[in-house]
Amino acid sequence: MILRTPPKKRKSEPLPAITADNQLVIYEDPNPESPHQVKADFLEALSSNEKEVDSLQSKLEQVNEEMQRKEVESKKFESRLRFVEQELAAAKGREQMLQKQYMKDVTDFQERHQKLLKDYSELEVKLKKEVNIRKNLESTATAAEEKALILEEKLQKLTEIAEREKKHLQNELSYFQNDSRLSVSKINAERELFECRAINAEKEAELFKRQLFELKNQLEECIQKKNEAENKLLSLNVPTQEPNSEGTRIRIKNLQDELRNYESEVQEARKLKSFHANAELLKEKISEERFRREQAEAELIKVQESQTKVDKLQDELMPWKSMIKEIPGAECCEDIPKKFAVMQKELVESMLKVGEVNGRLKELEITLEKALLDKQDAETQLGLAKKKEEEMFLELKRLELTVTSITGERDRLWALIATYEKEAAIAGKMDGTSGTGGADENRVKELELSLAEKEHMVSELEHSFCEQKEVIGNQHREIELLSERLNNEARRIKSLEREGYRLRSEISLLESKLGHGDYSAANTKVLRMANTLGVDNEAKQTIEALRDELQKTQARLKAVEEFKGQTDAGHLVDSSITEKLAELKKQIATLEKREERYKTVFAEKISIFRRACCALFGYKIVMDDQQRPNGIPVTFFTLHSIYAQSDDEKLEFEYESGNTNIVMNTYTSQPDIAQQMEIYVRKWNAIPAFTANLTVESFSRTTIS
């Protein structure tokens, strides 16, 4: 405000000191005074006015300067405003760009998320399919493995069977060879026998021939005699007409009787001849029949053996046939190893396929895990983007608020500037009023204050912005670290799950092995109780027998002691006791005699039995009871053949608790005997057959010699 000294009040209308043209107007005082006073007053007023004008001019200049300064400041403010507006526009543009970018990112993330979800669903479907395929393959693989195991076991069994068969056949071959040799030797022996018989039969036949010849001669003689008798009869019949008919009749009768006798003798001779012939025929028939019977018996034995062999072979063939039926495409035994090889190849291929499928499954699982991880990352990034978006929205709002505050300030400033301009204009009009300087200063101060406040706000905002940036950066880093940790933990969890699954499968496998009863021979051995009950039974029986004997002996001792006590005490001896004693003694004597008689009878019977056994079976048996070092009783039997050519030709057997075993000696260690022993005793466990064979051989040897 420019203060103006109020003009003096005049009754008349005051004339303006300064016209509109800014020219001085001469003041005409209605009350004229002296011109000198007026002049002095005028000069004073002029000087004061000049002074005022100077001051006003200086003030004006100051105001102008201030105006200029203000203008400059306003320009600055304007430029700053424009700058702020530009910044606002730039911030808006940036914000819009950021918004667009974020929208793009959001859309990208959403698209990626949708793609990931689609991929995830597809992968899940694929995984399910693969899992199903894997399960099927695993089941087929397990079935194939089981089949393979079964087939391998069968193959092993079959190979074992085949080997056993081979061995068996080889043994049989050797047996047959031996048998053939034995049969050849038998046949030779039989042939020799038959030759001897034939010789004997020939001799008998010669004897019979001679007898026959003699009989024939006798017959011829008888026939001759008969013819003579007939001739005599005929000759006698002619002279029957003679009177001595009674004598002739008698003679005829005698001759007839002689004829009859001769006829009877002839008949008897014929009968004898026929009998001899029949006997020879019968003998031949008998020998033939015997031969046939022996052949038939041998063939029967062979047939039985062959039947058993056939049965065995059929039994052995059954598994082969069943295997041929089970194995697809196999028609004969030769196809089996090929089919096995084919099946093994198929199994290997299927195992390879299973391995490949497992590998693919694992790859798929890994991709699935990666997809899940990507999904999680995308979700986290989406979350982060959303958070960023929210933060950006908040920042936008803040910026908008700042913009509104800044626009408000700008308007205020504009208003201030307008008021200032107005005031400046008014001050310019007023020309030199001093009141404008103070208003300008106040405005300047206000503007400066507001500027300082704005600058302070801007610095605070910048500071807070930097802090928030740092905070956001730290949070991003923390989020990244957490996401990495999450991923690692997820991987560890999956690996642990896999390990757990593997361990569970191992446990189930071990439990199945445990249930099956498998064990490690390095750490474990299997034991069971041996013959405890048998031993217990025997022990119990012996214990009971001993106890009974003990009780009996104790009773006897008591009786004896009582008897002794009674005698020692000097009591009268009862006659009944002596009688009892005598009776007991007699009984003892009779029992002893009886025992001796039993012994002799037993010895006789035993000797008879032994002689009968020797005669029937061809072996003298010598029995010898011994005891082993461990206390087990053993009985040794020594067999001497009656056809033995030396004392060394003896067989020794040991009999222990029901088991008979042959003992090796010089005779049995001979190759022929050892071979027979191997076949009959070791293989067939037929000691009677062995001894019978030896008997036949030794008999044939003695008869031949």
Binding site: L514, G517, A521, T524, L527, M529, V535
Partner: protein, 232 residues
């Protein structure tokens, strides 16, 4: 029973061995009864583990089982016993039909250092009771072993003449044997000998409950031959 100090819950190695061997004796009797290896009239009822248990009366079998349980107890105290298996076989073909497998895990620290453990007797009895109930209920899923009776008059004769190798069963065509899986360094007693494991080809297995004395842990498992009806 378990050797007890003033406090009931303390269990020593000897006590635990006694508990386990006693359990095996009762379990063997229960199996012989429930599987019909011996006729019902051969058994007498007693109270044990809170249940009515059946014990065989035949002296030969009793003595056999008594000898067995005493040896098992000895081996358990030495920590050398790994498993006890009760095998039921067909008398006709000697084919293994069932294997009752009792797997034993021993706390070696107790065996080496002679320390004791603490566990409630009631809890152990409860666990054993559960196993006994499962053995009794096993007839619901195990295949039948019954075949026509061959004549009871032969029962006593065959039992008295039976060897320990095969406890001849007059009622069914089954026999039983007991196998012990031990450490290889164990000295074989006079009355025992080495044997094969008497395995079953492709068995079916059923795992039963287990009990734990804190010194010996016993797992029970029965494996049996697939019945022809089941295969069909």
């Amino acid at each position: 029973m378990a050797s007890k100090t003033a406090t009931k819950d303390v269990i020593t190695l000897k006590g635990s061995a006694a508990i386990v061997s006693e359990f095996f004796g009762y379990a063997a009797n229960s199996i012989l009864y429930n599987r019909g290896v011996y006729p019902e009239e051969c058994f007498v009822k007693v109270k044990k583990y809170g249940l009515p248990m059946l014990l065989i009366e035949d002296d030969a079998v009793k003595a056999f089982l008594a000898c067995l349980t005493s040896q098992i107890s000895e081996w358990l105290e030495s920590g050398k016993l790994q498993r006890v298996v009760l095998v039921i076989m067909s008398k006709a073909s000697s084919e293994v039909l069932e294997r009752w497998n009792f797997n034993i895990e021993t706390d070696n620290e107790v065996v080496e250092k002679g320390v004791s453990r603490a566990k409630s007797d009631k809890e152990i009895m409860r666990e054993i009771q559960a196993i006994m109930r499962q053995i009794a209920s096993s007839i619901t899923y195990l295949p039948c072993l019954d075949e026509p009776c061959k004549g009871k008059e032969n029962a006593s004769l065959s039992l008295s003449l039976s060897l320990s190798l095969f406890m001849c069963c007059p009622f069914v065509s089954g026999v039983f044997d007991v196998l012990a899986y031990t450490d290889t360094d164990l000295e074989i007693p006079v009355t025992w000998m080495e044997s094969d494991a008497k395995l079953i080809l492709n068995p079916q297995m059923v795992k039963l409950h287990s009990f734990d004395t804190k010194i010996h842990k016993v797992d029970t498992l029965v494996s049996y031959k697939n019945d022809e009806w089941d295969e069909q």
